[in-house]
Amino acid sequence: MAYPFSLIVVLFLGLSAMIPWRCEAGMLRGPGGEAVRGPDYPTRIVSLAPSITEILFSLGAGHRLAGATDLCDFPSEAILLPKVGRFPGPDLERIVNLRPDLCIALKNVNPADLLERLGTFGIPVYVVEPKDLSTTMETILELGRLLDAETRAEGLVGGMSSRVERVKSRVAKTGSRPGVFLQIGVTPIVSVGSHTFIDELITVSGGRNLAQGPVPYPRFSREQVLALQPEVIIITSMTRGLVFERVRDEWREWGSLPAVKNQRIFIVDSDLIDRPTARLAEGLEMLAGLIHPELF
């Protein structure tokens, strides 16, 4: 009985592997697969991600934005932009209603179906894929080229780059790599695994991400965290509106933890370490300061 079923499952998986991935970084192909050219100087841009909105403003192109998502909140001018719905799944009707001449989206984050449908309405979509520090900087440069703001972009990236290098060189001077537990979820306790922005920042700023591993957002029980004996505990404000003090006090009850003994429990703004924007450099410096206060 199981044999034919498993055969069918395998067949389907095999078939699906043959279905080509339809979304590469760059200009999204049209509905028939044809190459699409964006406008030469787009002035009605709709950004489909908070990080993209930030980058556009930092490139000096904020005034060319016609719309952004509900979560686009930095810089503060972004809050005043017409909203196109939630992130990562905005509302098609609202986007179309703004008559954009270009949409900029995040690959594998904004729904591919939506991006394709935008194409059928004749709206060009540009897709970026920042996965870590270096690709974030590439994205900034890419968008700079796209929007005729290359000089600005190069300046931004140059600044980011030198700040990152500065942190790296100082960290290289010491061999100590304190164990860091970065908590993004309170109940249950959730941390960050490998291949995330936060993981990279922790590593670059001279720490050891204790939650490293294949699971991107692993869950921990209190016991498991205690067993890891973190020297630094960082709690992010991604869980907005919660009482961070309460969380810190809960950790303080476990006096055996090095982090508690040395009073190294901190709270940071998650946007600084989780959004692929120029502010990552700031986030990196901040983390470095918390992990290696003796160096910074």
Binding site: F5, F12, I19, E93, R94, P111, A112, T120, F121
Partner: protein
């Protein structure tokens, strides 16, 4: 030719058709952006500017969505009616034989593999539901007749098992896909275009016709299988035909819209209360009435929340559950 039933069927159908038409028009007027109602009116009545953004939104976003909602509402209501009669169980609903579990597992698999909603995820969902249906029927297969109680039991077990698989898959998922998955599980009518709507219609219309032809046989089935057989109904054949047709059409809609609860459960009871139990009247009533109901629920889902939209499944549950309790209380008297 006696006109009693014909007249009644026509009256009910026309009435509900009008309700459906009104809901459809209302659906075109409402959306997440405020379009000028006069412009919308002009477009609907044949005038207006066909190249405007308003025209784009009305014809290519709102209309396909409203049509999809009406087809799904019709299918789920009709599916609920057929299963309630076939399984002789008043709380049977179109997903009861494992269709929801199987299609959800298939769809989530498709979403995790990064496939597009249509045809990728849709075909996975369809395959999943057909597989679980096969599983349910083979688990419960009896001798001469389709054994009802074991069907329901098998369906419940398979659905429960699939739920655990789904929860497992969800726990492994990262953010972006999770959003997609949750919206599918709660019913999502937003991803559709004219082509898909037409294809779905092509599958559903024959199913509706076939089920209508079996209307009188379903009346007879309510008298018990032996008595129905004694009056000339080929019980086994008709049961299989009803089962197959209904599962096909319900699966086809699930893979477009995800899971929408309470429609198939509540609407048949409501219409039975209003129009009687004759299937020759109820089947068209479920088609038009169920369609209107979901169009209206989708309307609410689109306009109620301040930002974005609520999943339609939430609205159907919020309206459907109290409605069902009310109908239950009424039937007790």
């Amino acid at each position: 030719m006696n006109h009693r039933v014909v007249k009644r069927t026509l009256n009910v159908s026309v009435l509900l058709c009008l309700v459906l038409a009104a809901s459809t028009v209302l659906g075109l007027f409402t959306g997440s952006t405020g379009q000028n109602p006069w412009e919308v009116l002009a477009l609907i009545t044949g005038g207006g500017d066909p190249d405007s953004v308003t025209a784009s939104i009305i014809w290519r976003i709102r209309l396909p969505r409203v049509l999809l909602a009406s087809m799904i509402g019709a299918t789920l209501s009709l599916g609920g009616l057929v299963f309630q009669t076939l399984l002789r169980n008043p709380i049977a609903e179109p997903y009861v034989l494992g269709i929801s579990g199987g299609s959800a597992v298939g769809a989530i698999l498709g979403i995790l593999l990064g496939l597009s909603r249509f045809p990728g995820v849709a075909s996975f969902a369809f395959a999943g539901s057909m597989l679980t249906l096969l599983l349910v029927v083979s688990i419960s297969s009896g001798q001469s007749s389709v054994r009802k109680d074991s069907l329901i039991l098998a369906g419940v077990m398979v659905n429960a098992f699939c739920s655990s698989i789904i929860m497992f898959m969800v726990s492994l998922t990262r953010d972006s896909r999770l959003h997609n998955i949750l919206f599918w599980l709660m019913g999502d009518l937003s991803i559709t275009d004219q082509k898909q709507v037409l294809m779905l219609f092509g599958v559903l219309l024959p199913c509706f016709v076939v089920l209508f032809l079996f209307a009188n046989s379903m009346n007879l089935l309510l008298m018990g299988e032996d008595m129905a057989a004694g009056m000339g109904v080929d019980v086994r054949l008709i049961s299989l035909a009803l089962l197959g047709t209904t599962s096909l059409m319900v699966s086809a809609t699930v893979c477009h819209s995800g899971l929408l609860g309470f429609v198939g459960l509540v609407i048949p009871h409501l219409l039975r209360l209003l129009f009687g139990a004759d299937h020759r009247v109820l089947i068209p009533a479920c088609v038009f009435g169920g369609a209107a109901y979901l169009v209206l629920c989708d309307l609410v889902a689109r306009t109620l929340p301040a930002h974005g939209e609520m999943p339609v499944g939430v609205v159907t549950a919020m309206i459907g559950a109290p409605l069902f309790i009310f109908l239950l209380a009424k039937s007790r008297k």
